[in-house]
Amino acid sequence: MRIHLASVPVDDQQKALRFYTETLGFQIKHNIPLGEYAWITVVSEEAPEGMELVLEPDDHPAVRPYKRALVEDGIPITSFAVDDVEAEHERLKGRGVRFVQPPTDLGTVITAVFDDTCGNLVQIAEEKRQP
């Protein structure tokens, strides 16, 4: 058994597709129209055959209150691995991304958290090399 999908609930799939590709830099894997919504997944260009992130509509009545509650407490919906949080923070800030937590050294890991503009907070994390 393998994990091949993870989903992020978004308030607008097309806006999400632009943010996750143009701003964050992921690549479209699938974009299949399904009536009102679409099956949209993106992948990292570092692992095009790897895990897919589903940009899923958040219209289920339970999802928006859940998202609001997470954002209220600053809890990210998911986390992406990066090699250098500081560099990603600078790159994304340059693209207008709003960070709610700047790069923070937590000992074994450095993290930062930004707003995905689709109703979620997203964490980026860099595992520090053990000396």
Binding site: D73, G74, I75, P76, Q101
Partner: protein
């Protein structure tokens, strides 16, 4: 409170992450919330909604009030010797 001084205006998530990773405090989020409620009741922590998130700040003014009310305790101990 040291962590809130290090970076004022933190969410519950960030504060919990710092407590876990920097101080080995593995209390539940609910437990940390209860601590924050007590600190807020004492006026030492202030919370405010910013955008869609609730952020926390340390407020030292209650401690200052204590120092003002009992200002010379250290000095007096010194002169007693």
């Amino acid at each position: 409170m040291d962590e809130l001084v290090d970076r004022p205006g933190q969410s519950l998530f960030e504060l919990c992450a710092r407590l876990t990773m920097r101080h080995g405090i593995n209390s539940s989020r609910q437990a940390i919330t209860q601590h924050l409620d007590v600190l807020q009741a004492a006026g030492l922590v202030r919370a405010r909604r910013v955008g869609r998130s609730r952020l926390h700040w340390f407020d030292s003014s209650p401690l200052k009030a204590i120092a003002e009310r009992w200002p010379n305790s250290t000095e007096e101990r010194g002169t007693e010797r």
